[in-house]
Symmetry: C2
Subunit: 615 residues, 2 copies
């Protein structure tokens, strides 16, 4: 009952917006950048740690040199992706990213695969980012360690509420923290590098490592690379959200992508540099970034807490990236009949509420199952995102080769290289992380693809079923006054019943009032009261010894309906109480709502709901 | 939309039961005992551990002697409670326990306090028992340690499904494991004691304890006692569920209570004896019972796994106790208007489905918040249960003193002593556990009490609002044919629209077909198609540039309704698609359901739903 929670909704989410409010709900570069690139920027909060997590157990203090190799490759990959996606924005101003590209260039199946991969990736963005944000908070306030799952879920629910309020307000609420994080991390990098240069690393680290068991192998390098690729998730968010930018939307989106690349280069590179300078290694319950901040600023210092809070906030923004991209994508796919149509409906605040709620429920389930543990979630993450990258770039390549527009050769080379590189990365990640969780990602994406195909088949079937051919239209007969039969169920004689009965009498036709009695004395009294109404509408009563009133009523209605002739209709008229406070709706009408659904479902019966407003 | 999930429901829950199936859904002693006393019996799986958890950090290996003191007091308390509750069963054959007793003897406020305390206690029974069951499984299969929250939630959901199927099937599914557990533990006790007597304790335990820091103090003893009292929760379940027993229900319930006492005495005492003989102390990730089973049978032995699985199963049954008691209690309180009336409705399987679902949701939230950690949940637990014990016994005391029936003096002494003892225990637990979580329990119980008072006030207000005095009844006028206005919203011309329009025409009065257009070309085509129907019903069209069709439609209906004269009614007729598979309902009708609720809520508008069955 979406409408019944109206009052609660307007308190939490703000008043419903009028139609004309639509245009102003769009991003400038200033706000689009922090909201849509926070995923990639915030990745430093965990990607550096994930890389070290692979190297350190094997290489110990020798981990930092290969780490720079991995980081270099990842940043190079980032710039390739940015080049590729700038070309995508040119061709697809309406957003949709990998899904739209695949749909136009390859057809339904591959578009569904990339769409599923994107949906799965977005949900994991929410889960991983919220869990990492909670990890940052737990690093600063260790007393919260035993409530990490709850903290993560609270973060997700707050994001949901913020997004249900609508995107412009979201810009202001969610935009500032990215700048705050960028400044905090840059200050940390400058201070940290300066300190290391002029005074040496301040703490003499006395971690004793076992002598490296093995040398660096290609296998180890690829595993670390696969872990680090989680840093690249979210790059496609800008290209999927082009319609959310202010005009000129495409130009603004492309500028934003370049800015993203520059910022990630400095922040990700700088943090990894600090990790090497201060020889930080992964520990449980305190993140790598938190350890760096402790080493640079001192463990109880104000700046340590500033960095932790900034990290938590930008990670929430990263989760928010998905809250912007996912509902948009789902609405597009719903308009194509691959998802329930409700995902295409804008709510009272002009946002795709159902997509927002879906993102919340799915990510909370992941958080519960993986107990908000980032390290266990990340192996599921990158493979889906790289599947969609690959499909999108391959689609763009096909576009240039088919269209042969200006400069098509150069553009085809860029997107073609992008497709090959991301395809290779996809296989690497799938292989390296298969047993750790990538298999779950692949299964989930396959199931989602299958589900969306079934939904489409269903909608197509229903449309065909409902369609009228023009010859049928010519033969249609509208009856002027069919014989109508009306049943008015009654629990007790009160104002709402009287109103319903009055309406039923207005309908004309054969009317009966129907009551299910559970207590002989009460029934007797009711009969007397009914007589006092002096109506010529018969009162029909059935008795039952248990309180399964609905069941008895449905049987009676069934029997009545079975006795009808063709062209006679049966209508059941029921009162519905309307109350002022939203929570009062939890207290009423459950019987009439149940009966309405049951009646509509079982027989060809029209159901009339008569509202009665209670003061 | 409860009815839309019908097909899924009948797969998961079994077919709907007829009215006459009610009587057979009752317990014999043989099945009532395992289902209703599993909570108390299973308590050995954690109560012994909770006691040691208080003593061991302070007293080390000297913990076992005071442990027997605590266990002795708790078992004595158990027999006092059994004596007291046998007298309650005599007087209250309809169940309801503390709530009914307080209601009869003290009035609404204290009945609500004890009702709230019982509800809170039941929810914690589910949470604590499911979490302990998961702990038993994790002890046997340590690989699952990182999925403990998920395992716990799966347990709770399985219990919910089992209970929604109905209580007799529940007996058979859920009855056997208690006997299995009793046998497994008795075998363990006999083997363990025999081994200790004849061969000495098999393992030389070399745990090194710090020299006890302090002597046993009264404070320490009381803290351990407060922890151990979790063993007594669930004793009232039998007395609350008397109507679930076969006739003679009271006699059967009383016999079951005595059997419960005897079994707990042997099992609880025996396990504590083994803990002392084998000097087992609490560790994380392996329970005390698991450690005992390892010591007695060997750590990889079949019997070790048997004990762990039996423990997990009986703990699930203990959670199931609450699934039996809570919905019954909530239905009683709903019938008294303290809870939403839906809690008093029996579902298609003749169980109180809403109470079962409530128990699930509430306990899952607790599990997520406390990360399935038994030690953190237990401090919340016993205080609520002992509040209800105290109120119930005080109420019984008042009953005897007021009624002065046969043997009233003796009976008053028993219940009076019960009230004083449980009252003292209540204060002890509240004080000892206050900062660890008892404060949350007290706050929750207070809030629940307040909420239920508000609900009652609301229902009373609505009844008064709806009531018709006899003078009003005499003045009632039923209009024969009011002027009716009908709006039929149309998205497209198809079969379901034609059916709705046909019904609308049958209603008579002024009719219009209303369409919200978002695309000029589509609208033009629709107009042409409409003309082909050759109707004299006008087609009214509004245009909007965004897809907020519902909003525009509601505005139009509002304007129409505002223009009506008194005694004219406005009816909106909408088609509703009926589909064969339950999941197809997620794909349809969201617009008509939204509009129905919105229309009923905002204006005095009747809403007619016309079903159209899609094949």
């Amino acid at each position: 009952m979406p409408g019944t929670l109206k009052a609660l909704k307007s308190t939490l989410l703000g008043k419903a917006l009028g139609d004309s409010a639509q245009e102003s709900e769009r991003y400038s570069i200033k706000w689009g950048l922090p909201i849509l690139s926070s995923d990639a920027i915030s990745s430093v909060a965990y990607a550096c740690e994930e890389i070290l997590l692979v190297f350190v157990p094997v290489l110990g203090l020798l981990s930092f040199t290969p780490m720079f190799g991995v980081v270099g490759v990842i940043i190079a990959l980032l710039f390739i992706l940015i080049l590729c996606y700038r070309q995508t924005i040119d061709i697809y101003p309406e957003g949709g990213g990998a899904y739209s590209v695949a749909r136009d260039n390859f057809g339904p199946i591959s578009s569904l695969i990339s769409g599923s991969a994107l949906i799965f990736g977005y949900v994991l963005t929410v889960a991983v980012s919220a869990a990492s944000g909670a990890a940052a908070i737990v690093s600063a306030f260790p007393d919260l360690a035993s409530f990490k799952v709850a903290v993560t879920i609270v973060f997700i629910v707050l994001l949901m509420l913020g997004n249900l309020r609508g995107i412009r307000e979201a810009s202001i609420i969610f935009g500032l923290p990215t700048y705050f994080f960028i400044v905090a991390i840059l200050v940390m990098i400058v201070t940290g590098v300066g300190k290391a240069l002029f005074t040496g690393t301040p703490v003499d680290i006395e971690v004793t490592f076992a002598q490296p068991a093995k040398d660096l192998t290609l296998f180890l390098f690829l595993r670390a690379f696969s872990s680090g690729c989680s840093a690249l998730t979210g790059v496609e968010a800008i290209s999927n959200s082009v319609p959310n930018f202010k005009e000129p939307a495409q130009k603004n989106a492309k500028k934003t992508m370049v800015l993203l690349g520059v910022i990630v280069f400095f922040i990700f590179g700088g943090v990894c540099l600090l990790a090497a300078l201060y020889q930080v290694t992964p520990l449980s319950n305190i993140t790598v970034v938190a350890q760096i901040a402790q080493a640079v600023f001192g463990s109880g210092s104000a700046m340590f807490y500033v960095v932790q809070i900034a990290t938590a906030l930008i990670l929430l923004l990263a989760a928010n990236t998905a809250y912007n991209g996912l509902p948009q994508l789902m609405s597009l796919m719903a308009a194509h009949h691959y998802l329930p149509h409700r995902f295409a409906d804008k709510g009272t605040r002009l946002v795709f509420s159902n997509g927002i709620i879906f993102a919340t429920v799915a990510s909370v389930l992941l958080i519960i199952f993986f107990e908000a543990d980032t390290h266990r979630l990340i192996p599921l993450y990158a493979v889906g995102v790289f599947i969609s990258f690959t499909v999108a770039q391959a689609g763009m390549f096909k576009h240039w080769v088919t269209e042969k527009s200006a400069n098509w050769r150069q553009k085809a080379v860029i997107n073609g290289s992008g497709a090959i590189i991301t395809g290779i990365v996809c296989v690497v990640i799938g292989g390296m992380k298969f047993t750790q969780g990538a298999w779950m990602a692949l299964v989930a994406i396959a199931l989602l693809t299958f589900l969306m195909m079934s939904i489409k088949r269903h909608y197509d079937g229903v449309s065909a079923d409902l369609a009228l051919s023009s010859s049928e239209v010519r033969r249609l007969v509208f009856r002027q006054a069919p014989q109508n039969h009306v049943i008015v169920p009654m629990q007790t004689i009160n104002r709402s019943f009287v109103k319903a009965l009055n309406y039923a009498i207005g309908l004309g036709g054969t009317i009966e009032v129907y009551h299910v009695g559970t207590n002989a004395a009460v029934t007797e009294k009711l009969k007397e009261n009914y007589k006092e109404l002096h109506l010529d509408v018969p009162l029909v009563i059935d008795e039952t010894s248990y309180r399964n009133i609905n069941e008895v009523l449905l049987k009676h209605v069934d029997a009545y309906a079975n006795g009808l002739k063709e062209h006679e209709t049966l209508t059941v008229v029921m009162p519905q109480l309307m109350v002022r406070k939203w929570w009062h709706y939890t207290l009423h009408n459950q019987t009439s709502i149940f009966l309405e659904t049951a009646l509509l479902g079982r027989k060809d019966i029209a159901v009339v709901m008569i509202p009665y407003l209670v003061d």
